[in-house]
């Protein structure tokens, strides 16, 4: 009847990763397989295509730099979504938080401060985090205290953020750079720029920040009371209430932390890559971050791997286009197929759980996602 499944061996981190990685790995293989079939029908040898993709992504120093650069915002965005998942929330607003964080860190990055450069950088990064967290304040409050689904509100705020930033960089608004040919802010101060890791590449330390943050968040979720509470509320808010947890406050905090990471994702794009704020500088990273978190099964270490996978796809795609003539948008198709297979394989190991929330009225959507067992 109720037979226990796992042995009592203490499962190390790697083991956890492997166990929770099962379904996504299968999904990735299926996606690559189906895409190979498509490539074949387009008249190209799939092996050649994938080889060129890999070469482009990791076969050279500039390639690897590009991969890391592409992966960085996906990593931080993936962390944002994954933390939200842990707390039972679906943060679709990473795009908007990204813009908010970018704007905030641009502003702070333009201000000359009487502090050592490294401190200026840290303050700027913090500003990015705060920007994203504040952008999540309204949806967080509405969800925690008024039972309004965070999905629609964060989705709407994405566009508000995009337009807001657009206004900021157009003349005659705050951040507009005089005399520029398109709407952009002035360059941020050198002290606010993220150090480059490898000379003459664009590889900025945003990737280090991302990896460090992933580990830190993993530790936070696993080893702090805040993390435990987050998981409790994410799995079963009613039981958490019975155990005396302030579910509303916890929900709000989790969404704001999640937003903060979305803000960081935007901050590093500015501080590391572009060094100034543009109109529409992000191409839908927020939604890809959801895919990243999904492929990682909301596991915070797995997010690193998933983000790199996407980074490889994006960085290698242009080489693939040049060498074998398969358009770069193929990588989008591979990404999409990977996600589709993950959710189509759904009711096997990890499950997407939907849960009733009797305590909430005007709810239009509620989703919770549990990580791998």
């Amino acid at each position: 009847m109720n037979k226990p499944k796992l042995s009592s061996i203490r499962i190390p981190l790697l083991g956890e990763l492997i166990l929770s990685g099962g379904r996504p790995v299968i999904a990735i293989f299926l996606a690559l397989f189906v895409s190979a079939i498509i490539i074949y029908f387009l008249g190209v040898n799939p092996i050649a295509a994938y080889t060129s993709l890999l070469k482009g992504a990791v076969g050279s120093i500039p390639g690897m730099a590009n991969t890391c650069v592409r992966a960085s915002p996906l990593l931080l965005g993936g962390i944002a979504v994954a933390i939200g998942f842990k707390g039972g929330l679906l943060n679709v607003g990473v795009d908007g938080q990204l813009y908010a964080g970018a704007a905030a860190s641009t502003v702070v990055g333009l201000i000359s401060m009487p502090v050592p450069p490294w401190l200026h950088l840290i303050i700027t990064i913090l500003a990015g985090f705060l920007g994203g967290a504040l952008w999540a304040l309204i949806p967080a409050y509405l969800r925690a205290y008024r039972g309004v689904s965070e999905v629609v509100v964060t989705l709407m705020l994405n566009y508000v953020a995009i337009y807001f930033v657009s206004w900021l960089v157009h003349e005659p608004a705050l951040l507009f750079e005089e005399g520029a040919s398109f709407p952009q802010s002035p360059l941020i101060l050198p002290s606010a720029q993220l150090p480059i890791l490898i000379g003459r590449t664009s590889l900025h330390s945003g990737i280090i920040l991302g990896v460090v943050m992933a580990f830190l968040m993993y530790l936070l979720i696993r080893f702090t009371p805040f993390g435990f509470r987050t998981r409790m509320v994410g799995e079963n808010p009613e039981a958490s209430r019975y155990a005396g947890i302030n579910v509303k406050a916890q929900t709000m905090m989790v969404l704001m932390v999640s937003g903060g990471f979305g803000g960081l994702a935007g901050a590093i794009e500015i501080l590391g890559l572009k060094h100034r704020l543009f109109d529409m500088f992000s191409g839908g990273v927020g939604y890809e971050a959801i895919a990243v978190a999904l492929l990682a099964n909301a596991n915070l270490i797995g997010v690193i791997i998933a983000a790199f996978f996407f980074g490889v796809l994006k960085a290698g795609a242009s080489k693939m286009q040049i060498v074998v003539g398969i358009e770069a948008s193929m990588s989008l198709i591979i990404q999409a197929l990977a996600v589709i297979f993950v959710i189509a394989l759904g009711l096997g190991g990890s499950r997407m759980k939907k849960r009733r929330r009797r305590s909430q009225k005007n709810i239009t959507i509620t989703e919770t996602i549990e990580d791998g067992d």
């Binding site: 009847m1 109720n2 037979k3 226990p4 080893f223 009371p225 435990f228 799995e235 079963n236 039981a239």
Partner: protein, 517 residues
């Protein structure tokens, strides 16, 4: 008592013969036979989990039986879906309303009925028919009202009207009087008799013995999935029925009490009033005290305020009047102080445990952020594991590891995890709500022993249960709750089960009279 209608050639309007149905891990119906005569009101009795709902869901086509046959008017019938059931004149009124709040009464009535001139939704002819039926049974419901505006009693009527609209000849009513006030129940029964006089047969599912005795012609009792027997109503009484439902002789097998300790008040509920989820008063000036080293059993039919009382004590529900305190400390919100209160909720699956969490995690839901489980802001998993090992040993929880998800454990062991957690802080008061529901006999025995052990150690225990025999065997004192009030408190030693039964039904005067004689 009404006389049975004359039957012509068909003796039974519906027969379920030898029905067996298994769900994963549960034998819900074990060779059950139920026969209903035309125009009769047939009661279906049984405790929660006895198999009544499953049997009726099979009759209504929501499930298929594994074995056994169904006969409608003598002809063997396979009921593969609710639509088939409806075509055969079977109508079911569920325990939970199957009404769509945002639609109107009329829209709910016609939902699922194929339109006469598809695709048009012809509400007008439906409205006329509806008005005729409401007039015939004198149930004034406006067809244009959105359902969410209807009072609860009207919603119940609407469910029944839905079936009458579909010309049901066999009505299954699942706990229909749950939402009625006593005065409304009388009205309801009058109309039920009207229905049967028109040729409708009714299966009346309830666990309210007095109502079943009043309205039915015959009664079938189920227990643990098996058929216990079918009796004629005017040849039986509540004691016999209760025993059929519960199955055991009231055991006067009482455990010896330790020598008398100084009794201090632990739980004090003082004129406690509160509302339930439907904003109906659940507790009315309830007074109750539990002392150290005693088990107070709260006896009563499900739904008389037990859940709300437990929640008020746990701080999960705000009283609207009066107050409740533990060891003198007033309870205003949920406390995580495990030295004060241990609360075993009645729904361990959804609120007692977090099912995907491991055993060791579930054991620390209230204490994970305290020393020694957390020091300097870091959770120490080794301590959590040690804590789990200790509790697993102490409470004899059968699990191969503390690190497996708690949902993999058997029901009895899951309950032990809840109990172990709640008792781990050695609370002054333990509230156990339906702690043995759904457990097998061995597990029930374990839980009882744990409770008795606690009592012997000096813990105050409030034991809520709908199983009277259990309450009587375990308690030192028995408080009977009815309609949100304590009807009476008796010493368990030498208590008369019939007296308690009367109090459970709210017949306080009868009891007083008896006691005076």
């Amino acid at each position: 008592m009404k006389t049975l209608k004359d039957t012509n050639s068909i003796e039974y309007t519906m027969e379920m013969v030898g029905i067996t149905k298994t769900f994963p891990g549960v034998l819900a119906n074990d060779d059950v036979t139920l026969r209903v005569k035309p125009g009769e009101v047939h009661g279906l009795l049984g405790e929660n989990g006895a198999g009544k709902s499953t049997l009726m869901n099979i009759l209504y086509g929501l499930h298929q039986q594994d074995d056994g046959d169904i006969f409608i008017n003598g002809r063997k019938t396979r009921i593969t879906s609710p639509r088939v059931a409806v075509d055969h004149g079977i109508g079911m009124v569920h325990q939970h309303f199957m009404l769509i709040d945002n639609l109107t009464v009329l829209e709910n009535i016609v939902l699922g009925i194929p339109p006469e001139h598809p695709p048009f939704l012809d509400l007008n002819s439906a409205r006329t028919r509806f008005k005729k039926i409401t007039e015939e049974y004198q149930i004034p419901i406006n067809p244009s009202t959105p359902v969410w505006q209807l009072p609860v009693g009207d919603k119940q009527w609407l469910e029944i009207l839905k079936q009458l609209f579909r010309q049901a000849k066999l009505l299954i009513l699942d706990e229909p009087t749950a939402v009625f006030a006593p005065s409304q129940v009388e009205q309801f029964f009058i109309k039920l008799r009207q229905l049967t006089e028109e040729g409708c047969a009714i299966i009346f599912i309830s666990h309210k013995l007095d109502e079943v005795l009043e309205i039915t012609d015959r009664i079938t009792v189920l227990r643990d999935g098996k058929l216990i027997g079918t009796v004629t109503t005017n040849q039986t009484n509540s004691t016999e029925l209760a025993q059929m439902m519960v199955g055991r002789e009231v055991s006067h097998d009482r455990k010896p009490r330790p020598p008398s300790v100084e009794k201090k008040e632990v739980l004090v509920a003082d004129n406690l009033c509160c509302m339930d989820d439907r904003n109906v008063p659940a507790l009315r000036n309830l007074n109750l005290t539990v002392h150290t080293g005693e088990i107070v059993g709260l006896a009563g039919v499900d739904g008389n305020g037990q859940k709300e009382l437990a929640e008020c004590i746990a701080g999960l529900r705000q009283p609207t009047g009066g107050k409740v305190s533990i060891q003198g400390k007033p309870i205003t919100h949920v406390t995580r102080d495990t030295s004060l209160l241990g609360y075993i909720p009645q729904d361990r699956h959804t609120i007692g445990l977090i099912e995907p969490f491991t055993v060791e995690e579930n054991l620390v839901l209230k204490t994970f952020d305290t020393d020694p489980l957390t020091r300097r802001g870091i959770i120490r998993w080794r301590s959590i594991q040690n804590n789990a090992d200790k509790l697993i040993d102490e409470f004899n929880v059968k699990t191969p590891s503390s690190r497996i998800p708690v949902r993999n454990l058997s029901g009895g062991n899951q309950q032990k995890v809840v109990i172990a957690r709640e008792l781990s802080g050695k609370p002054a008061l333990l509230v156990a709500s339906h702690a043995t529901r759904g457990l097998d006999l061995g597990a029930v025995e374990s839980v009882h022993n744990i409770l008795l052990h606690e009592r012997n150690q000096g813990t105050a225990v409030l034991f809520v249960s709908a199983e009277l025999s259990e309450v009587m065997a375990l308690s030192d004192r028995i408080a009977v709750i009815f309609n949100g009030e304590i009807m009476g408190i008796l010493d368990a030693e030498g208590a008369d089960i019939n007296l308690i039964g009367e109090l459970m039904l709210g017949h306080r005067e009868t009891v007083l009279n008896t006691m005076q004689n």
